[in-house]
Amino acid sequence: MRTVLTTCPFCACGCGLYVQTEDGRPIGVMPSENHPVSLGKISDRGWHTHQATAATERLGQPLVRRDGALQPASWDEALDVAAERISALKSTGKALGLLGSARATNEENFLLGKLARAALGTNNIDFSLRAAHGPLMSGLQKALGGCPAGATIPDIAKCQVILLWEGNIAYSHPRAAVAVMMAVKAGARLVTAGYKRTQMSQLAALHIHVAPGAEGELVDEMLAHIVRAGLQNEGFARARCAGYDALVEWASRVQISQQAAQAAEWYAEAERAAVMFGSTLASAGGESNTAALVSLAALTGHLGRPGSVLLPLVGRSNVRGACDMGVGPDVLPGHVSIADAEARQRLEKAWGRPISAEPGLDAQAMMTGARALIALADDPATGLPAGKAAMDMMRQMDFVVAIDSFPTSVTEVADVVLPAASYAETDGTYTNMEGRVQRLRACVQPAGEARPAYRIVCDLAARLGYQMSYGSPADVLNEIASVTPAYSGLSYEKIEKSVGVLTNSIRNGRGKVQLQAAEVKRVTDEQYPLALTIEGAFDWGSDPLVIYSPILARDYLSERKLYPKGHVEMSREDADNVGVRQNWPVRIASRKGEATLPVVIREDLQAGTMVVPFAFRDFAADVFGGERVVAVRAERAEGG
C-alpha cells in the first residue's frame, strides 16, 4: 500500500489529500490534517477522488474514425492522422480552434496555448467554463489596475462581516463554505444575496433577495449608501482610485433599500470583511459587477487590507490556472492582453514564432467559426451555455481531435481520440481560487496506453513542424515561470517545500482603481412578469470525475434520472397563480421562444423567479435563446 499527497481535482478550493493505492490501483482517500487549505476537511467529492480514475470506461487506447466508427489505432497512426488533417486544413486557410480545460493542469493548458499560438499561429484558444467564470477574473484584472487582490480561505474564517453573492457555495465550494460557517460561529455577520434561500442564507444575519440579472442593483445601492452616509475612506478613494467625483454625483440619484444600507454599514465599519462572489454575479454583466465590487472594497478601504478578502468563486479546480495560462482568445499567460506588444515580443522570443495581436474566436464562436477542433479535457456540450447544440456543431466540423482521460461528448464526435493520463496518473500543478499553485501528483500508472497530456501536445506539435521538448512537467513549469511574471520564481522544488505557493496572478502596477457602478439589467415587464434564469454555470453531474465515481454519480445524477426531460422550479405562490401542482407540465414562453417542462415547487424560491438548473438548460434552450436570464410568462400546459 502506498499513499501519495495530491490536490483534490474537483472544485477550486484545492484541498490537500492523500490517495491510497494498492497493487497499483487507487483504493481510497485520506484528508490531510496539516494542509493549509483543507486542514483535515474535504468534501463528498474529495472523499471519492480515487474512484473516477479507476473507471471501467477510461480511455486507454488511441482511436481513429474509419468508415464512420472509432477504431483502435497505434499512437503513431493516430498522431499522424491528426497532424496530417490539421496541417491540410490549416494550409487551405480553414480556421482551427483549440480548447484547454479547467480540469487540465497548468502545464497542459500552457502547452496547448503554445501549440495554438506558436505552432499553429492562431489565437483561437479558449476553454468552455471561461464564459461563465472568466469575467470574475477579468473583471478583477480590469478594475484593479494595480492594487493587490487575493486572500486565503482561512482568512474568511477571521472576518467580522461577509458579503456572499450566492450560487450555493455549500454545494459549489464546500471548503470556502466551512470558512464562512466558522466566521459566523465566531460571531461574524453574514449577508447573503441571491434569488434562493440557500443553506448559507439560513445562517445569515441578513438575506437580501435579488432577482436574477439584478445582482448589480444591490452592489450599486451599497456603493451609493456608503458615499451618501459618509462611510467611505475618502483619503484612499482620492489617492488610489479614479472616478470618485463622478461616483459621488451618481450616488445622489440612486434609490437605496434599507437592507442594502444595513449591509453597506456593516461592511464599511468592519475591520476585516470579505466579499465572495460566484457565477450568479456573472450572469449578467459579470465584468461590470465584479468591477463594482472592487469599487465597494476600495471605497471602504478593504481593498488590500490584511485580513480583508475579495475572492472570486471560480467553478472548477483549475479555472484560475487556465485563465492564468492564457487560455483565452485575447489573453496571454499572466492575464496579459494580446494587444500588449511588449508581452507578445517576450513570448515570440521565447517561442521563436510570431504571435498575432488579433484576438481569436472564443469557445462559443469556435463552434460555428472553426472547421477543426483540438479539445484537451474540455467538453463544450456540458460546459458552454449552448449545451447539446454544441455537439451538433462539432459534428459539422471537418475534423475533431479529443485528448481526454474519459469519454465525453467530444470523444463521441471526434475523428481522433488520444487517451490521456488522468488527474491521478500525471504530475502537474493546479492554481486554486486563492491563486495557490499546488502539486497534482501521479499516484498510479496511466490506464492502458494513455500518456500524459503534456507529452501528447508535444508529440502533436512535433508532427506539425514545431519542436517542444520537456523532460517532465517540472520543466514546463520552469518555462511558465520564465514567461509569466506572476509565476516567476516558481518551481516544483519551491512548491514541494511549502505545500503550494500563493501567487498573485493579478498584475501589480501603479494604476488606479477605476470606481464604477454595476450594470443593472431588470428583465421583466408587464407582459412577461417572471424572471427565468439558468441556475449555476457548471454542473457537477456532467463532469466525468463525478459520472465515473459510483457514489458521487448516484447522488449527483439522481435528479436527472427522476426528470429525464428536465424540470423548471417555481415558487409556491407562482405555482398557485398558474394553477399547477408538483410535476405538472408548465408552458414557459419568452420573447425568444417557448418550452413545456414539469414543474418542481420550491419553498426556497421567492415569487417572481423561475429557475432551470444548468443541467436541464437544453430543455429550455429556445426560451433562453442564448441568454442566461430572460423574462417569461408561465401557464399550465395540457396534461396537468
Binding site: 499527497l5 485520506m30 474529495g46 480515487h50 464546500p174 466551512v178 439560513q202 445562517l203 448516484r554 447522488d555
Partner: protein, 349 residues
C-alpha cells in the same frame, strides 16, 4: 481481562521487537506523512514507527473494512465463474490507540449479527491488535465518556504503556501472550512497581480530560424518547455540509455500497464506503426518499449512534470518543456538539 503476565521492554529494544513482528506479519503502524500528518500504513522498517503521535485523523479500520473492497471476481467463460476474494494476509496493527481498539470491538459485534460477514471475519482472524495506551488525552478526544479509553482491560491482543525509558506490555489474549513468549529474550517480567506505575498513569490520564467530555446519557434520554424538536434537527442540519467525513472516519461506521467494475477484463464486485449523510443514500428507485432533508439524515445518524435502542443491542454507544469528527467535520455538527445541542435543546452553530 488479563491473560498471561505483563512484561517490560526497554525503549532501546523496541526496534528489534518490531523487526521481529515484521517477520511474522505485515505491520501497520503510525507513520509520518508528507505534511506532518500521521497515517496508519504498512511499514517497511521499524524506524518508520511514529511513536510521538496523538492519533491519526484516518482510523485504522480501513485494514479490516477497506474503502474499496473487491469481494467477488466474475469471469465470463462458457457460463459465469464466480470467485470470492478473501484477504487473508497476516497483519499486526501496531501502536493502535485504544479508542480504535474499541471501535474494532464494536465492528466485531456488528459483523457477526445474524450472518457473519465472511470478508470481515477473514481479515479479523488474521489481524492482531497491539495497542498503545494514552498517557494523556489528545486535544479532541473524549473516550472516557464511552468507556473506550484511554486504557483498556480487554479488546486488544497486547496493550503497551509508555513508562518513560521502557514500555509495559500486557497481554489480553492467548495470541498476545504467545507473541510475547516468542520474543522472550527482549522482555523481562514486570515488577509490582511497574504495574502500580501503569495504574497511576491511567489515573493521571483519566484526571486530565477536563472539559473534553460528551454527555451521552442525557442526549440518549432525549433522543430515545423523541424529545428533540424537529426544528432543532433542522437548525443543526443547516450546519452540515454533507461531506460524509464523519461517517468515513468514524471507527464504528460500516455502511457501504456495491458496484461492479471491470478490472483487466474481470468484473470485480466491490464494496465501497458510503455515508448516510449523502442525499441519495436512501433514495428509492421510485424516486421516494424516506430521508429527503439534511435534518432527517442527521437525526438518523445520531439515533444510530446514541439511542438507547442501539446501545442496548450493542452494549455501548456507537461512538468511541476519538473526536475525529471534530476535525473532519466540514460544518460544526460533530458528536460532542450535537450531543450538547440535543441535551440543552438549543443550537447556536
Amino acid at each position: 481481562m488479563q491473560v498471561g503476565t505483563p512484561r517490560i521492554i526497554g525503549r532501546g529494544k523496541l526496534n528489534q521487537w518490531v523487526a521481529h513482528l515484521m517477520s511474522r506479519a505485515e505491520v501497520i503502524a503510525p507513520t509520518a506523512g508528507q505534511t506532518g500528518d500521521v497515517l496508519f500504513l504498512p511499514i517497511e522498517s521499524p524506524e518508520q514507527v511514529a511513536w510521538q503521535f496523538e492519533n491519526t485523523l484516518h482510523p485504522p479500520k480501513q485494514f479490516l473494512l477497506p474503502q474499496t473492497e473487491p469481494i467477488v471476481a466474475i469471469r465470463r467463460n462458457e457460463g459465469y465463474e464466480v470467485e470470492p476474494i478473501y484477504d487473508e494476509r497476516k497483519r499486526i496493527i501496531f501502536a493502535v490507540r485504544n479508542c480504535d481498539v474499541s471501535g474494532i470491538k464494536y465492528l466485531d459485534q456488528v459483523q457477526n449479527y445474524e450472518l457473519t460477514d465472511a470478508y470481515y471475519a477473514k481479515r479479523r482472524q488474521n489481524t492482531m491488535l497491539i495497542s498503545l495506551a494514552c498517557n494523556r488525552p489528545c486535544e479532541r478526544c473524549f473516550c472516557i465518556c464511552s468507556g473506550s479509553g484511554p486504557f483498556l482491560e480487554e479488546g486488544y491482543d497486547l496493550q503497551l504503556t509508555d513508562m518513560g525509558g521502557k514500555f509495559l506490555a500486557e497481554p489480553g489474549t492467548e495470541q498476545g501472550e504467545a507473541v510475547l513468549a516468542e520474543a522472550a529474550g527482549l522482555f523481562e517480567p514486570a515488577s509490582d512497581r511497574d504495574t502500580r506505575r501503569r495504574h497511576e498513569l491511567e489515573e493521571a490520564a483519566r484526571a486530565s480530560f477536563a472539559d473534553y467530555t460528551c454527555h451521552f446519557a442525557s442526549a440518549m434520554r432525549r433522543i430515545s424518547t423523541r424529545k428533540v424538536d424537529e426544528s432543532l434537527w433542522a437548525s443543526m442540519g443547516d450546519w452540515c455540509l454533507q461531506c460524509g467525513g464523519c461517517n468515513l472516519i468514524c471507527p464504528t461506521c460500516y455502511c457501504f455500497s456495491v458496484k461492479d467494475r471491470a478490472v483487466d477484463g474481470v468484473v470485480m464486485r466491490q464494496r465501497m464506503w458510503d455515508s448516510c449523510q449523502y442525499a441519495a443514500f436512501t433514495l428509492e428507485a421510485s424516486g421516494h426518499n424516506p430521508r429527503p432533508d439534511r435534518k432527517d439524515r442527521m437525526k438518523r445518524r445520531f439515533f444510530h449512534k446514541v439511542s438507547a435502542q442501539y446501545t442496548m443491542r450493542d452494549g455501548m454507544v456507537g461512538c468511541v470518543g476519538c473526536g475525529r469528527c471534530i476535525t473532519v467535520c466540514m460544518g460544526t455538527t460533530d458528536m460532542p456538539a450535537i450531543a450538547r445541542g440535543v441535551r440543552k435543546g438549543v443550537w447556536n452553530g
